[in-house]
């Protein structure tokens, strides 16, 4: 058993695997060009195994559906990694993180000229995608600073439920304010169906975010966040400005989530209050981070990937039951593997941890960092 785990660890955590994976991911869409490949675009739920076959065996060309599937997986990885910043490192379990996603999506949509309100200022209309996406992130971050300065004072379950309340309440407010959200009609963004672009964009953001978070974890700031999780009063006594740290982490996570929301809105070309503030999106983040291992850098990435595979299989086989399955899966994960995949590895061999992955990617970083599981 130990040997098997050691072999798996060797494969999963080796730097060569990561480089190969990255190269495959970068090259994959290139196969897309110059072929008549858009035939089965309708298969939205293209299964991952099938997708992997297509570029490994090269029987079938990579389709837009494959790119879309992978883009969605990258978005989930980004969201889970981000959620992990407050939920995993700081220990403030946020049940309403999807609120920033939705706010970013709506801000971006409005700035790109999707507003249905006739009096919407012309200055804030018809922006191009990049500034609009960044502005979406900024709006989400501003909102996070506002709401966080109130809710981050709360401890433990109170914070979780206040954030859940934020999500539900903001969804209602957005739905009611028709000038901003288009009410039941929703908003239509300019249509732009360049799947490879979104693929590369989300891939880039994902790599940047993982790098950023693993760097952040090594800095004094990251260590302070973990200290807050372990003992908030103690951290304060050691001279850490806990409020500032918490709000900074919260705002950073909100900024990235909001930008990704903007990107998602542009890709989706249609948003309304229900799909932008989907409750399942929050629970995705929680579940994927927990499955991988809370408070580790690699955990959310692993968890999201595994979860995405699993869900795709369930989706394509039992479409009707997938939500029931998700709830039950959450219960099973929480009851039986609360430390997640990373925790399972750690228990077997304490020498291997997330830091090995980080070391693989960033050889110059300091080797003696304490592991946080």
């Amino acid at each position: 058993m130990d040997r098997i785990i050691a072999i798996i660890q060797g494969i999963v955590f080796s730097r060569r695997t990561h480089i190969i994976l990255l190269v495959i991911l970068v090259l994959m869409p290139l196969l897309h060009f110059g072929r008549e490949s858009c035939k089965d675009e309708g298969q939205l739920a293209a299964m991952i195994p099938e997708a992997s076959c297509s570029y490994l065996i090269d029987e079938k060309p990579v389709t837009n559906a494959t790119l879309l599937t992978f883009t969605q997986m990258f978005i989930l990885i980004i969201l889970a990694s981000n959620w992990n910043l407050t939920g995993g490192f700081t220990g403030y379990i946020d049940f309403g993180h999807a609120v920033f996603f939705g706010i970013g999506a709506f801000a971006t949509a409005n700035l790109m000229g999707a507003s249905r309100w006739e009096e919407w200022p012309a200055l804030l209309s018809d922006w191009s995608f990049w500034p609009a996406m960044a502005a979406g992130g900024l709006v989400a971050a501003l909102f996070a600073l506002m709401i966080g300065s109130a809710t981050l004072r709360l401890k433990g379950p109170y914070f979780s439920i206040a954030m859940l309340g934020t999500l539900v309440a903001v969804r209602e407010i957005v739905r009611v304010s028709k000038n901003f959200s288009g009410g039941g009609l929703g908003l239509n963004l300019p249509i732009y169906l360049n799947r490879p672009m979104f693929y590369y964009l989300s891939l880039t953001i994902m790599v940047l975010i993982i790098g950023f978070i693993s760097w952040l974890r090594k800095t004094e700031f990251g260590a302070s966040l973990v200290a807050i999780r372990e003992d908030e009063v103690g951290a304060e006594m050691r001279g850490i400005n806990t409020t500032l740290h918490k709000i900074a982490a919260f705002g950073t996570a909100a900024f990235i989530t909001g930008s990704v929301g903007g990107m998602w809105a542009y890709q989706n070309t249609f948003i309304d209050a229900d799909i932008a503030f989907q409750q399942t999106r929050t629970i995705d983040m929680v579940m994927m981070s927990m499955l991988g291992g809370l408070g580790t850098v690699a955990g959310p990435v692993l968890g999201s990937t595994v979860m995405f595979w699993l869900r795709d299989v369930v989706w394509s086989n039992f479409l009707l039951y997938h939500q029931i399955f998700e709830g039950i899966l959450l219960i099973i994960i929480v009851l039986f593997v609360p430390e997640g995949i990373m925790g399972m590895f750690d228990r077997e061999n304490s020498g291997t941890s997330l830091n090995q992955i980080i070391k693989g990617w960033f050889p110059k970083s300091s080797p003696d960092e304490e592991d946080s599981q």
Binding site: K155, P157, Y158, G165
Partner: protein, 298 residues
């Protein structure tokens, strides 16, 4: 209809709906108070109760207020089994585990109901409808009956907890688990029965709700939020406090819906959220000091 009559009408509506809120919140706050489990699937239990009533009403022709006597035992059994199988395993563990498990439970229940009865909004029909008129002010019969039923249930629970032997052992378990165990109270059984009673009450609240407004499989989240807001105001397991908190929420909701133009149906959720954050930030112990200190919960 002049302003004072409109105001009186609004106040009456608020008080009538407040009774429903009060009985709805009891299950949530007693489970939290006795077991330390924050039940995020509370609203979904309410929804299950409401759907059970709807099925009895539409398919078997039961009057909703009569169906109450079938819904409560069914929900009692459901709660008992669920506690024995699942909730018992999470009581002693960190509160986050309980939050996540009950959240997952809620998703599963809502999706199951959606699968069985689709996501269309439903409503039950009762024979006790119509209005009693007093000048320009009217008293809706269904809502009044709901308030009466809610008050009866609250008094029943109050008497049960205060004067019966089993109720005393529940309170003992809530105050000091170890000491209760030492004097020979079977904690596991007390927990199971408490959970079952609370779920039965929640199901009953779902029944009371079903003739008043439309019910749908995914309404649970909003009701959980309302339950949390009222509990934050009233404190854990505090029955008069729950009545007070329910009335406050009902009144605030109705006053806002009447006198602030253009807010519509979402006002209940928004106002309960604002109340919740206000109370939590300003008085973390609850208005009556009934909530445990945050450290202890953690």
């Amino acid at each position: 209809m002049d302003f004072s009559e409109l105001l009186i009408q609004t106040l009456i509506n608020g008080i009538l709906i407040g009774g429903l809120y009060a009985v709805m919140v009891l299950g949530f706050s007693v489970i939290w108070g006795v077991m330390g489990v924050i039940n995020l699937s509370h609203g979904d239990f309410l929804m299950v109760g409401a759907y059970l009533t709807w099925v009895l009403n539409k398919q078997y022709g039961f009057e909703p207020f009569v169906a109450l006597f079938l819904v409560m035992p069914a929900m009692f059994l459901f709660g008992y089994l669920l506690q024995r199988l699942l909730i018992n395993r999470i009581i002693e563990r960190p509160p986050l585990i309980a939050l996540l498990v009950t959240y997952g439970l809620g998703i599963s229940m809502a999706s199951t109901v959606k699968l069985m009865y689709t996501a269309n909004p439903r409503i039950t029909t009762t024979q006790f409808s119509g209005y009693l008129e007093f000048g320009n002010v009217v008293l809706p019969v269904t809502k009044s009956l709901v308030l009466v039923a809610a008050l009866v249930m609250m008094v029943g629970l109050f008497v049960f907890l205060k004067y019966t032997r089993f109720g005393k052992s529940i309170r003992a378990a809530a105050q000091n688990k170890e000491a209760a165990r030492m004097v020979g109270i079977e904690i596991d059984r007390v927990y199971a029965i408490t959970f079952a009673i609370c779920i039965a009450l929640t199901g009953a609240a779902g029944m009371l709700l079903s003739p008043l407004g439309s019910i749908s499989p995914f309404m649970g989240g909003a009701w959980t939020l309302k339950a949390f807001a009222i509990t934050a105001m009233s404190g854990l397991g505090n029955i008069p406090g729950a009545l007070f908190g329910g009335m406050v929420l009902g009144l605030v909701e109705n006053l806002l819906a009447t006198f602030v133009p253009g807010v519509g149906a979402g006002v209940g959720i928004i106002s309960s959220f604002v109340l919740l954050v206000l109370v939590l930030v300003t008085r973390p112990q609850g208005l009556f000091g009934g909530l445990r200190a945050a450290q202890e919960i953690r």
